[in-house]
Amino acid sequence: MSILVGKDTRLVVQGITGREGNFHTRQMIDYGTKVVAGVTPGKGGEWTLGAPVFDTVKEAVNARGANTSIIYVPARFASDAIMEAADAGVELIICITEGVPTLDMSKVMQFLKGTDARLIGPNCPGIITPGEAKIGIMPAHIHKSGNVGLVSRSGTLTYEVVQALTDLDLGQSTAVGIGGDPIIGTNFIDVLRLFNADPFTEHVVLIGEIGGTDEQQAAEYIAKHMSKPVTAFVAGRTAPPGKRMGHAGAIIQGGEGTAAEKIAAFEAAGVKVADLPEQVAQLVKESLGR
């Protein structure tokens, strides 16, 4: 079982006729995800991969009962696509697009406050509930259904940890990539809260990185509210200050946002922190007493 996505997910793909959008839609369908519609303005009436294409998200929601959207449109159109989905009544919006301008996201976040939508990302790999639904770009085959919840700011680093978990026969309830940008729709605490309330999640793995203070806030939340054990990994111990390490949000500014301070915050909150990504799985195994 799961959080955020599962058997009840009815997905609309924004940008379904684009190269990336089409490629990943095929993979999501192969995994068993219910893709009920696509949206590409101007291509309404067409069909692709067995799904009807609409001009607007509103039509997709009305005609097909879509409740979740995934966005593959280019960066300059991403904020528009997010707001359109939220306005159409989509409950969960997952924005894969990388390179969205920060001020666009700042406006989007204010806009979303007036709606019921939850945004994941942008600049994220998406969400997978193994065995139920894959809403994103992650390689499906490394996952296995189980009760370890995963939340991460990274893509491939998450795959690395998932693989290590699966290798030790530790399946995952849901793996959530929240994205590597400075402003994201859903942060660590939001997802920790969901895992805390999910009866099928027994242990949570948090994968952080340099930049910002989201991990420190997560550590505080864990110490106060989390009833389940958490294991963490923080990337970027060797990252120099002032340089953006790929992700727009991965930068140490004014001496703030270093891996060391994040690791210290987790350790102070009683969270085991792995030195290497592959160690995460071992720590989880020990914690679960298997």
Partner: protein, 380 residues
């Protein structure tokens, strides 16, 4: 992307922020001519994209055009934190009575632009944050609404400004906010904002950092990029759409994904060496991109071994394997390498490398240990 002081201040001025009269010079003679035109004392300021210019001797007050020429002679060509001064700004000197800090950044936690102000201007704000955090005033701004005048007035009062300086400050704060928004900045800073003897306000120093992701809608600003900001290899990487940061170690790293690239650097360090770079070849990287990335890594003479770490998702391991071999055909090298390929098409990828006798590893830990051993000249 960082802008120089003179570029930042010119943008501020466009939005009504008062700045000192001044002009840039690339030679001492030019500096003297500008000082003559300005009349009175001037400040000769090195234009390099690092902080601490004053401490390094890169900012001097000149009482005469001749002095300005002499200082320009000293400062031009000077090395400040590894950067060579190629331009100086000659500004009319201000009549400084009080120094204020005024800046805007994005507050990641609330997702909004936030003003940061302090009556302790003229020093780095990070320093004030450490030594005297109570002296820092913050005001978040709703990006849909913009800065409302009362918010700017509140800042002015808290800064201890009185009388007509309040009105002047509100205009400056509004101007700075418009400059920040209209340039898609991630930082816009006036430090110091000076209160002069006659009560007027003047933005004596300025700094802007722009959001790289928004440069597509600001071609005019993108043109202002100073090549000095980046290392040569970083520039080539940026043009090839590779995410690359040069570091000082000896293990070259080529990885897909930013988080994994950072983790790979950390593991290299964990096993006793230092990474030579951060390099994310991105998702779906094809052979040609891999070849470009490899050339960039090999151009660093410090590199003693190269570690490839590819977790195939969108990226296909066989494409990367082909890219590695193609690149080695074009750029023959004796630098030892080890590859770790997992995920999409890893079997095909590994078969391609095995056929070429290219060393590989199963796990990231094993790959890192092998790379460190290779760098020491050991055989694996």
């Amino acid at each position: 992307m960082k802008l120089h002081e003179y570029q930042s201040k010119r943008i501020f001025a466009k939005y009504g922020v008062p700045i000192p009269k001044g002009e840039v010079a690339v030679s001492p003679t030019q500096a003297r001519e500008i000082a003559q035109l300005l009349g009175g004392p001037v400040v000769v300021k090195s234009q390099v994209l690092v902080g601490g210019r004053g401490k390094a001797g890169g900012i001097k007050l000149a009482k005469s055009p001749e002095e300005a020429e002499n200082y320009a002679e000293q400062i031009l060509g000077m090395d400040i934190k590894g950067l060579t001064v190629e331009t100086v700004l000659i500004d009319q000197a201000a009549d400084i009575r009080k120094e204020i800090y005024l800046g805007i950044v994005i507050d990641r936690a609330v997702g909004k632009p936030v003003f940061i102000a302090s009556s302790e201007g003229g020093v780095e704000i990070e320093e004030v944050a450490k030594t005297n955090p109570e002296a820092i005033i913050r005001q978040a701004v709703d990006p849909l609404l913009g800065l409302v005048d009362y918010q700017a007035r509140n800042l002015a009062f808290e800064l201890g400004l009185r009388g007509k300086a309040i009105v002047a400050f509100v205009r400056i704060a509004q101007g700075l906010y418009k400059a920040f928004i209209n340039s898609d900045a991630s930082l816009a800073e006036i430090n110091p904002l000076v209160v002069q003897g006659d009560g007027s306000l003047l933005a004596v120093d300025g700094k802007m950092v722009l959001d790289d992701n928004a440069l597509f809608r600001h071609p005019d600003l993108a043109e202002m990029r100073d090549l000095q900001e980046e290392d040569e290899s970083e520039r080539i990487a940026r043009l090839a759409d590779l995410s690359f940061v040069k570091l000082d170690g000896e293990i070259g790293c080529m990885v897909n994904g930013a988080g994994l690239a950072m983790a790979t650097m950390d593991i290299v360090k964990h096993y006793g060496s230092e990474p030579a770079n951060f390099l994310d070849i991105g998702g779906g990287a094809k052979a040609e991109k891999v070849a470009t990335a490899l050339r960039i890594i090999l151009a660093d003479p410090k590199v003693k071994a190269i570690l490839f770490n590819i977790f195939g998702g969108i990226t296909r391991c066989d494409e990367v394997a082909k890219g590695i071999l193609e690149a080695l055909n074009e750029v023959p090298t004796d630098i030892p390498m080890v590859a770790r390929l997992v995920g999409t098409n890893y079997e095909e990828g590994r078969a391609i490398l095995d056929a070429a006798n290219f060393p590989s590893a199963q796990s990231l830990g094993e790959a890192a240990q092998k790379a460190v051993a290779l760098a020491k000249g050991e055989t694996i």
